[in-house]
Structure formats: structure tokens, C-alpha cells
């Protein structure tokens, strides 16, 4: 699977794409999430599109920004576009949310997105509350893969990495960061074939709890190690502080689900998301009964069957290439 749809809302605001349609009035700067899209712009470069944005929209009021395709004909690296945004950071004192790479599979394979070090975003925007990044290891296409250095950031509440192959380096940097306000952490780990080389050990600081005292919603998703992750989560101290847990989109099988059933109580969770799973009907029923009866909303949709090929069973995560 790849992404098919662009966002319609981000950070609770309707997304407004630039360049706008002819004769379309610009909305109030703080009323929408501004999305820049070089595919819509066609012959306009990201530099020009950015310049036109800051010239025409009162940047001091902009609250949310979504970066769509930053190239038109040939794929290019994100870094120059991001540098442009960061150089203008002082002009965006109200910016609270940034999405990097709202790009669909019709525009570029997620594994081909050429990302960069995103730490400077957190350094340049100390009041940022939401950061979401799509993409991961660029499979050697760019000069650099997606990366992150351990940071301390006082304001960040939501951090999401949507990836078919999230580099272990990023997972470790998240675990080593100090994010006292972080409420929502979502890591799509992906598969090793696309550079998702994190292990369960890399998740240890997150699972230990206390690292992010405000954390209430945790997603460790889209992994080919989903059973191992489930087993680790079953006894992880962090679970006690959560309201919502997602182990969805990966290759979760009966083994992982049984570890959850044997593990610590999950009855305090409002929501347990296991959609896109490989559970048998009987184990899915046990999960539904055990966790659902305590009032937890359990999502067991998108039950998948393994593919059989050359006498072996193959299970796929929801998002990889």
C-alpha cells in the first residue's frame, strides 16, 4: 500500500493548498493549514512558491504548514526546501504544526522521498506543538537519509513518523530526546528491506516509561517485528500512563496477541488499535473479549491472510515501499 489521499485537515485546521485556484480568495492566515504543492504549481519551483507564500500570506499569523511535493519533474532532496523554511522561521512566530512530505504514491514512492535531518525544525521552532514526517530511509537516492539528533523541546505535544522504513538512528534519537510535553508519539517502523532497521532494543527508552511523562497515546506500528514489539509492550512500564495504544499495520500474529493477553492489564486503555493484523478468528475473539469487555475500544479491522509462495508464508506490513 502507498498513500493515496492528501490531508484534508491538519492540526485541526482545514488544509488550503497553494497555489490556489484562479479567482480564489485567500483565507485568513490563521484559519487554515497552508499546504504548498509544486505539482499543482507545475512550472513553479519550490523557491518561487515559498516566496509567493510569504509575500502574500501574513506569515506572523500562520499556525500550520503542510509541505507537499517540493519538486515537479525530477525528484529532489528536501534539504534545500527545508533550509528555505528554516531561514524564514522568525517570520512565523505563531507556527505550531508542521507536516513534511504530504506526498502520495501517485507522486512518489514513500521509500524514494529524499529527506534530511529534521532536528533543525525543532531548534528553529521552539513553540512547535506538532511535527509529522512522512518518508524514511531514501534507499541511497539522496545524499542523506531521514535523521534526527536527540533534542530537548519544551512544547512538542505530537510527534509522528510515517515510514515504510524508519532508520534505527531516528528511533534511538527519539528515545534519547527530552520532550516533557509529548502526549502523542507515533512511529511507523517499516521493514528492513526499505531501511527500517530498528530493533525492539531501540524502543527500550520509550517502553520504559517516564522518558515522556506526558505521553498518553503511543503507536509502534507498521513493523515486521510486530509480535516482538507486542511481547515487549505486554510488560512495558510505559503502558500504565497510556490512554491509547496502537500496534496496528504490522505483521501481528497469534503469537504477539497471546503475549498481550498474558501480559499486564490493559483495561485502563480507552483504545487499542490492532487493525491490519494476521490473527486467527479464535485469537481475535479472545482479544475482543478480554480487552473489549473492560470498556476498551478494540480495532481489529483489516484482518489479513498470509500469502503463500514457494511453500512459505509471507506477511506484509501496511506501508513499505
Amino acid at each position: 500500500m502507498t498513500f493515496a489521499d492528501h490531508f484534508e485537515t491538519f492540526h485541526g485546521l482545514p488544509v488550503h493548498t497553494l497555489p490556489e485556484r484562479p479567482e480564489e480568495a485567500l483565507p485568513a492566515a490563521g484559519a487554515v493549514a497552508w499546504r504548498l504543492d509544486c505539482h499543482v504549481a507545475e512550472s513553479m519551483s519550490f523557491d518561487d512558491l515559498w516566496q509567493s507564500f510569504v509575500d502574500r500570506v501574513p506569515s506572523t499569523e500562520v499556525r500550520a504548514l503542510v509541505i507537499g511535493p517540493w519538486w515537479y519533474d525530477e525528484y529532489s532532496e528536501l534539504r534545500p526546501a527545508l533550509e528555505l523554511i528554516l531561514a524564514d522561521a522568525p517570520r512565523f512566530p505563531a507556527l505550531r504544526a508542521l507536516f513534511l512530505a504530504d506526498v502520495t504514491g501517485e507522486e512518489c514512492e514513500i521509500s524514494w522521498l529524499q529527506l534530511t535531518d529534521v532536528t533543525p525544525v525543532l531548534e528553529a521552532f521552539p513553540l512547535l506543538e506538532e511535527l509529522a514526517v512522512r518518508g524514511g530511509d531514501s534507499q541511497g537516492l539522496g545524499e542523506e537519509p531521514l535523521s534526527l539528533r536527540p533534542v530537548r523541546h519544551e512544547a512538542l505535544r505530537i510527534m509522528r513518523f510515517e515510514s515504510g522504513g524508519l532508520p534505527a538512528q531516528v528511533v534511538r534519537a527519539v528515545g534519547a530526546s527530552e520532550l516533557p510535553a509529548l502526549e502523542h508519539l507515533e512511529l511507523w517502523l517499516g521493514v528492513s528491506q526499505y531501511g527500517g532497521d530498528a530493533t525492539v532494543a531501540d524502543l527500550a527508552p520509550v517502553l520504559a516509561g517516564g522518558r515522556f511523562p506526558a505521553l498518553r497515546r503511543l503507536g509502534l506500528q507498521d513493523s515486521e517485528l510486530q509480535d516482538e514489539i507486542a511481547a515487549a509492550v505486554a510488560s512495558a512500564p510505559v503502558v500504565a500512563q497510556l490512554e491509547s495504544l496502537s500496534l496496528s499495520m504490522g505483521t501481528l500474529t497469534d503469537g504477539g496477541a497471546e503475549a498481550l493477553l498474558r501480559g499486564q492489564p490493559l483495561s485502563h486503555l480507552k483504545r487499542l488499535d490492532l487493525h491490519h493484523h494476521f490473527l486467527s478468528e479464535s485469537v481475535a475473539d479472545r482479544v475482543r473479549t478480554a480487552f473489549g469487555s473492560a470498556g476498551t475500544e478494540v480495532d481489529l479491522s483489516d484482518q489479513c491472510a498470509p500469502h503463500r509462495w514457494r511453500d512459505e508464508e509471507w506477511r506484509y506490513v501496511a506501508v513499505s515501499e
Partner: protein
Amino acid sequence: MSLSPSSPAPRTGLRFAVVGNPENRRTSMFADAVRAAGHGTPRVLPWRDVLRGRYAFTPGEWVRIDSPGENAEVDRLLRGTDDPARVEGTALWHRRFTAVLRDVARAAHRAGAVTSADPEDVAVMFDKRRCHARLSAAGVPVPPALTGAVGGWEELKDRLKQARLARVFVKPAHGSSASGIVALETAGPGRVKATTSVETAPDGRLYNSLRVRHYTSEPEVAALVDALVPDGIHVERWLPKASQGGRACDLRVVVVAGRATHAVVRTSRHPMTNLHLGGTRGDLDAARAAITAAGGRFADVLETAERAAACFPGTLCVGVDILPGAGWRRFTVGEVNAFGDLLPRLTGLPGSGAEGLDTYAAQVAAAQVAVRRTERKEHHHDTTA
């Protein structure tokens, strides 16, 4: 004109014939529409006989030219291959098919019969390079394409680089129904991905399958492209398509006698939206709403389809593939299909004049009008000569 089904059955004395494959549902559905309009059962001239020169027309007959597809014997006669799933042989198919069409049209004209399609129109529609050029010359929006012949993978790579095209569709010039189509992505040195329903056999032959697969090694992709090149390929930019319900989509608009009468949304998880490859019919109302929300007008989309159809004035009915760009703001024409009317049970668009009629009934109704016009014109010529 009103084509309302509640009108009394017209009895113009018009006699219909179909050149088609008798066992095919296209033929039976058209025959049903002819009978429903009160004209009696149309005469069926099987392609297998027509290709052997065994056919004749009668004065005043309306002759529908339908697809020769989905019949192994006919395919063998046209393409010289025993396996209908084979991708190769389309250039030969095109030469033979268009030659027969010209013969059929001449014979019909001599006999005083009228054909539903002009052979030169069909010849262009079945050559994606010429079709693209004709649309482009008429100002119909089309995706940018490479021009001139492409000699093979190495040349294609260079040409794509020069043209700064990272994502293209490589299409056999004479293919139909996604046969042989490759969605090709390139990036960086040697990075390539081809998405296609074509399967390469160990001996290098190409077969169409019902499964969409990916090729990611350059030697595989090179072999695929090199095997397609001898029949001619058309290469055009793969513009990101709009989506519906998490699936990329396009629109098939049927134009009958110049008017867009029927439209469906086709959605797919793959770059190709063809129904036999897992595509499904999408929600036309939702598409219309998305177009309106993006500041556009659905009527303009239909008009684009009508302008594309107007490039083929000698053909009563064509199916136009409209590609909505991501965000539903821009629309380009992907293909114009000579036999693009197989949309069972789909009734006409409101205000199209074909409300309540399927694509076949709409053509039967339009044929009567077309014949009357032709007769008037000929009468006029006779009296003024």
C-alpha cells in the same frame, strides 16, 4: 433530440447489422438495445467471416463496427499468435485490422450502407502516438509525451532524462485494455521501478496477466521495454491522479454523436485503473462534488471529453479516458477508445439526452438521427447537383 425510453418505439424501418464476435456480450447487448427500440434483431457479421472476406451489406443498413477482441480465432487471424495473452504482435494486428476496416467501409459505402465508425478514425485511436498528436494539435489537454520512435531501453533512459520525466507510462502504441502498459519510475543512477500486469516468461516472451507486479532491477525492466519496442511504444508523463476512498481514479466518459452521455469513475490501488486488474467503479457523485469543491465544473470535464471525441468526427461513439490531476483541478485526456462503450447497465447522465438509456440504447437512438441527417444531406446534394 429526446432519447427518453418512454417515447413510443420508433419504427423508422432502419435495419441494423453488427460486425462483431457473435459470442461476445458486446454483440448481444447491442442486439438487445436494437430490439428494445423496436427494430428487430440485427444481422451479425462475425469477425471470423469478415476477416476471410465473407460479408456483404444491404442498402440502407446501419453497420455497427464492434471490437474484434476476446476471440482466440479472430486474434490469431489478426495477430498471427496462438495465445491471446501474448503482448507482442500488436503492430501486425494494427496493420491487418485497419486494412480490413477500410475494406469493410468501402463495401458498405458501395452498398449504400452506413458504418458507425470511420476506418481512419479507428486507425488513429488504435495508435496512441497518433491519437496523442491529434488531440494535442486540436488543443485538447494531454499529458506531455515523447515524440518520435524510441529504439530501446538505453535510448528511453536517455530521452527521459533529457525530457526530465521521472514517471511515465510506457504503452504499446496499438494495445488496448492496459495490455502491455508499464508504469515506469526512474530516479538516480540505476534506480528503477516498473509496475505492470505484464509477465516476462523465461524465454523473454511477454504475457498479460491479471496480477499487477513490480520489477525493480534494471535488467528486468530493460528486457521488458526492449520486448515492447518492436511493436512501437508511446511514452507519456504519469501525472499524479486524484484519489477517491484511498484509490487513484480516472473517469471514462462515453461520447455519442458528439455529446457526453455516460460517465463512470474507475478507481484502483494500482496506477492502471482497468476493471480486470482489480479496478472498481467509483462514486461519480463524489467525483462531481470534489470537482466542484476544487472550484471546477463537471460540465467542463464533459466538454473536454466532447472535444476529444470531436477529433474523430466519423465515429458515432468513443470512450474518452479523463485523468483528473491530484486535487481535481486539472484534467487531461489519457486515451480515446474506439470500443470504449462496454459499461453494462450504466444509464445516461442527467441532461445528456440519454437518461435511462445504456450506452448501446443511446447509440441506437443516435443512429436513427444520424441516418435521417445523412439522408437529408444526400437528398439535398441530389436536388442541387
